[in-house]
Symmetry: C2
Subunit: 319 residues, 2 copies
């Protein structure tokens, strides 16, 4: 038997999965993430949960070919080291693969959470089985993962897939967390939607959201809802967001020419109003041979994408 | 013995190479490309040249592990099919790998010429041995190749590496051959330099090149030379070109985070005045974790890059 264990470690919960040798999900469950005082128990809690659940399935750890971990921070993939994870209270460099292997005796592989989600969607979700797939996650920020020839791109410093920092807003209106202006994240995340709504409100665009905008309480979800019922400002913001995402996908298309772009994250719940706009702008902006037969679709695996991708990494590199 | 043969097929000459098993160049030579009437003799000429030269080295074709071909047109890499090559008078789809294998009895692999040049520079040239390398070729147009995890990106339609069609000129001033406006190729190729020179001349920027600009005879080389001796228009054009290239490299950095960007092609002969500008703008525009330890350098292999890359493909896929 060559089962696979996977964990997608988040700031609140760890999603855990037991997989078959060919990355079919046999069982999934969650445990709380104990981030206090310094996240020092997290790996041990996962290890204990693995022991218990494999036993429930009549397995022990000698039946496990490998463990895959997704973590919320920058990862040195080759060496299995995470360089800080604010949401876990992990400070500085931590050799996660080494620590988990030492504790469990099982070969362990670790990658960034956005990367494993992309690999999960590529392997078993919306891009299933295609070699070239790019995932864009629109949440509080914008993240992503790029799969080329069936393998995640990491790059030499692990900064591959940082789609949120593509230069798209050439007016460079809003400050990004990275220190620059003009990043995709400043105009296409939940924060970006609020940035754009405020910007157009201050420029006098009509809206039913005036009160929330004046009070500084407007949310990206409210802007999306307003757009859906024809609010002028909401519609303008959503079209602009779609335009920036379409531009980003256009540029990615001539670089790695993926079969599938997979859009996930909270902002993607805007649904068709966003997707129709992205497809329209993408088509308008893209080098024709690069958009032929390229599909832009929503993510399918939801919160399970990370464990699927982490399990797939085990399959690719440890078996 | 497992020698490798490679050909980089151009519109005027075919560069040929005999390599050792570990992609060391043993001998290189050229033959003319017979493009008339329909380029129908090209593969046979290469085959005959291979037979003759391997014999001169005391080898016969049974000593050859594989043949790698670089061709000037869009390639379906998996199936070894080229879809037209204007400079060779090749029309429609041609199953090059199949045809060459049938003639020679030797396993054959084929890729686009810009891709094999990038792989050559990655493997034996300016990026030698690093897994993540991107080459940008600034010639009449702008081409390139993207190496991720040591493998060329092709994408599902073979449009990966079409760096010349990144959206960079948001003013979208000049028409591209692809039908769009705003592509990198319209502002960073030899043609692009002339586009920008004309544009600024019509907008009244001072220059010593007035006569050539009025007569429509200005060349990109003349603009570069003028910039080097302090011509206002020339310097403005070169800084703008460098800015657009810097922007393109910045966006590529957050997608595949290469160790090395390798700049080749005729326009790269502008030298330091171009390179200094590219590095300055790149640094200004790029997400800091993505530019750390990333080098931007000139290509090293010149016309040999293609045969090195074609030989490397044989090593990767046929041995």
């Amino acid at each position: 038997m060559d089962n696979i264990l996977a964990a997608d470690i988040g700031g609140t919960t760890c999603k855990l999965g037991l997989f078959s040798d060919d990355v079919e999900l046999l069982h999934k469950w969650e445990i709380p993430t104990e981030t206090l005082p310094d996240g020092g128990r997290i790996l041990e809690d996962i290890y204990e949960a693995f022991i218990k659940e494999t036993a429930n399935h009549g397995l022990d750890l000698t039946d496990i070919a490998g463990v895959g971990l997704g973590v919320p921070g920058p990862v040195d993939f080759k060496n299995g080291i995470i360089n800080g994870a604010i949401n876990l209270n992990w400070d500085g460099k931590k050799p996660i693969s080494y620590e988990f292997e030492k504790m469990s005796g099982i070969p362990t592989i670790v990658d960034n959470d956005a990367n494993v989600a992309a690999l999960g969607e590529q392997h078993k979700g919306a891009g299933s089985g295609y070699d070239d797939v790019v995932m864009v996650t629109l949440g509080t920020g914008v993240g992503g993962g790029i799969v080329v020839n069936g393998l995640l791109a990491h790059g030499h410093g692990g900064a591959a897939g940082e789609i949120g920092h593509l230069n798209v807003d050439t007016k460079r209106r809003f400050q990004c967390n990275c220190g620059k202006k003009g990043c995709l994240e400043t105009v296409a995340s939940a924060t970006g939607i609020v940035n754009l709504a405020r910007h157009h409100f201050h420029n006098g665009v009509e809206t039913t959201l005036s009160k929330a905008l004046e009070e500084g309480t407007v949310t990206s979800a409210a802007v999306v809802e307003a757009a859906k019922v024809g609010d002028t400002l909401g519609m303008r913001v959503l079209d602009e967001v779609a335009g920036f995402i379409g531009l980003a996908l256009s540029d990615i298309s001539v670089l790695t020419n993926p079969n599938y772009f997979i859009i996930g994250g909270g902002v993607s719940r805007a649904g068709d109003i966003l997707m129709d706009g992205i497809r329209k702008h993408y088509r308008r902006l893209t080098f024709p041979p690069a958009y032929e037969n390229t599909e832009i679709v929503f993510a399918e695996l939801g919160n399970d994408a990370g464990i699927y991708g982490a399990a797939r990494l085990v399959k690719q590199f440890l078996t």
